[in-house]
């Protein structure tokens, strides 16, 4: 089998191309000498079975950002037969240097000029034959977004694999020495092969930016856009949610209850009220999460996220962070785990750690489920959306408080220099692929946690045998009682304390835990739940849930990305302290005011 590495700068559509060629059958795995997981997939290219590996985007083979080191270590430690280098056709002036770096490695390489359609709109014409001759490498043009040119590109790759042999790792290691005379060669190649029209035409991107990046309109528009995204999540997701609930209920009544009638009461309880009720309650929230990820993928694909970094950098600079950290926080509203992994783009360790400390304060989709449920159960329909909006503001406030508390400890001098790619219409295919990947990831992680979580909750609440479910004699009751001295001052009773314990495993478990603790589902659960608490204690519970340790996956990611047990401990303990303090002030303050 041949191995081919996919290399390119950020924003060249490299991963889009990878997804298109491999059809999203990629698996993620470990590679020697490299600390991060890389996506790879096996595809048939001509008569060769090829393992295609998607390497992180990089600007410079000889650079020293985390991602650039990953690429270099991969090349030094892995036998490869060829490199496919993806360049952005409209930015050849600065991207050709990377082609020369790749050529200098001595590995057979194929250059793919992506986004040829975009280049044409800029008035850029490229003479492929002349460029190929000048580079001494085969060159083909593709559109990763629309798939044009892909058969020709694969054909060129097959020809390359037919005729040329890859060098050993040792030769690659020798070749990976820095080289600074490439600039002149880029100039020469540009002059001989690429014609850039004299005056760049004003593109749609520029016209959009005049509004989107307007000094006064930009930020309000950005927050409106985000509000619209969250509104759309509920508008599209809520009817789907009702449908899933109805489905689970129907299956239980029509199939499960008759089928399990012969089992002993305890086993039937575990299966029906434990596993089925728990999973059903959580499954009802999956549509919301699916819609959220698809919308986020569309926004990400459009190029608006880097504008968000531009718009928010002034604010973030005052917190000791930068605009990229804001984008990661925003990603954190979907799921904290990919957001934490996204901080790899920061080279400066203190800033990266500070970002990683703030990201878990982002109100992720798992916490959103809990809040949607509690807000709908306790508050009248007209008030519930405002409660949710308030929790988003509280999430921002927790980020600000955390950054201000630790900005001096993690002081940084990281330069803020980012590219603003042109706006692109998100394609359905790309949104589907990105969104589906996230959803699959989420479901795989969530279902294991939820399954084990609800079983554990059921056992704690129903054992020892004979104890009233979640009553004071059950194991859960004991734990809840033991925690009362700490949780009573913030208005959280024994039953909710048990839910919080399981929320540490994953927030997805919390609603499932409610269902098990109260032994009810759906509307009946909501009604019973609302009886036990008023608006103040419900809000205090939600504030605590918002800020305290997000979930085991996040803790594991913090540990893996920071490679520091001390930092991980800080990232677990600080949120618990902040959560308790916030809920205490809120609960006692509201009670003192007579609410």
């Amino acid at each position: 089998m041949k191995r081919v590495a996919l290399v390119g700068m950020p924003n060249t559509g490299k991963s889009t191309l990878f997804n298109r060629i491999t059809g999203a059958h990629a698996r993620v795995g470990n590679w020697p000498g490299v600390t991060v997981d890389l996506a790879s997939a096996k595809v048939l290219v001509g008569r060769h079975m090829v393992e295609l590996v998607d390497l992180p985007g990089l600007y410079d083979l000889h650079g020293f950002s985390d991602d650039e080191l990953v690429v270099r270590h991969f090349l030094e430690n892995t036998r490869i037969d060829a490199i496919v280098l993806v360049l952005n056709a409209s930015q050849l002036d600065r991207q050709l240097a990377l082609a020369l770096q790749v050529r200098a490695l001595g590995v057979p390489a194929l250059v793919l000029l992506n986004m040829a359609d975009e280049a044409k709109r800029y008035g850029i014409e490229i003479d492929l034959a002349s460029l190929s001759k000048g580079l001494g490498l085969p060159v083909a043009s593709v559109s990763a977004r629309y798939g044009t040119g892909q058969p020709e590109a694969l054909h060129a790759l097959a020809r390359l694999l037919d005729t040329e042999k890859g060098p050993g790792e040792a030769a690659l290691r020798d070749a990976l020495a820095p080289d600074h005379q490439r600039e002149a060669e880029v100039e020469r190649l540009m002059r001989s092969a690429v014609v850039v029209s004299e005056r760049l035409s004003e593109l749609a991107s520029g016209r959009v930016d005049r509004v989107a990046l307007h000094p006064w309109l930009g930020l309000p528009l950005f927050f409106l856009a985000m509000l619209a995204v969250f509104q759309a999540v509920f508008w599209i997701g809520a009817p789907l949610q009702d449908a899933v609930e109805a489905l689970f209920d129907a299956v239980r009544k029509a199939a499960l209850e008759p089928a399990l009638a012969g089992l002993p009461a305890l086993a039937r309880g575990l299966l029906l009220d434990g596993i089925w009720a728990g999973i059903g309650t959580v499954a009802a929230f999956v549509p919301l999460i699916v819609v959220f990820f698809f919308l986020l993928a569309a926004v990400e694909d459009s190029g608006y996220l880097s504008r968000a970094a531009f718009l928010t950098d002034a604010l973030m600079a005052r917190l000791g962070l930068d605009g990229r950290a804001f984008v990661m926080l925003l990603m954190g509203f979907g799921c904290n785990v990919p957001a934490l992994m996204g901080t790899r783009v920061m080279r400066d360790r203190p800033m990266r750690l500070l970002s990683m400390l703030t990201i878990p304060m982002s109100l992720c989709s798992a916490r959103l489920q809990v809040f949607v449920f509690v807000a709908a159960a306790v508050f009248p329909p007209a008030r519930a959306p405002w409660v949710l909006f308030g929790l988003y503001l509280a999430s921002f406030a927790a980020v600000v408080a955390t950054a201000l508390a630790f900005r001096r400890r993690f002081a940084s001098h990281e330069p803020f220099v980012i590219e603003l790619p042109p706006y692109r219409m998100p394609t359905a295919r790309q949104v589907w692929m990105r969104g589906w990947l996230e959803v699959k990831h989420f479901l795989r992680r969530a279902t294991t946690f939820i399954f084990l979580g609800v079983i554990a909750v059921w056992m704690l609440t129903h054992l020892p045998a004979g104890a009233a479910p979640a009553g004071p004699d059950s194991y859960a009751g004991w734990i809840g009682a033991a925690l009362q001295p700490a949780l009573a001052p913030i208005g959280i009773d024994e039953k909710l304390a048990v839910a919080l314990i399981f929320g540490f495993v994953a927030k997805e478990v919390v609603i499932g835990a409610f269902a098990v603790i109260f032994g009810l589902e759906g509307d009946a659960l909501a009604a019973q739940f609302a009886q036990g608490m008023d608006g103040v204690s419900a809000t205090s519970f939600m504030l605590f849930t918002l800020i305290y340790t997000p979930c085991l996956s996040t803790v594991a990611t913090l540990r893996a990305e920071s490679k520091s047990a001390g930092f991980t401990a800080l990232a677990v303990c600080w949120p618990i302290a902040l959560a308790w303090g916030t809920s205490f002030l809120f609960y006692q303050g509201m009670r003192a005011l007579g609410f």
Partner: protein, 83 residues
Amino acid sequence: MPDRKPLSRLHPGEDAVIAAVEGSEGLRQRLAALGFRAGRVVRLLRRGAFSGPLHVRLGTTEVALRAAEASRVSVKPMAAQPA
């Protein structure tokens, strides 16, 4: 020939030729990767509100960078062209 000044002092819509790129090794390398080289034309498109970052264009690449970083790039202003 107009005098050199830092990129951070350009006005929105103003074109200039890059004269020199200074700063730390890391910053220079990053700027070079995005196309900041002596002799290239750069245009300041806009500044972010609340002394936010600068939005500049070099060729077909658009870049956002803070004033602190932009002050390490010295430029020679050219006559402004209609956008």
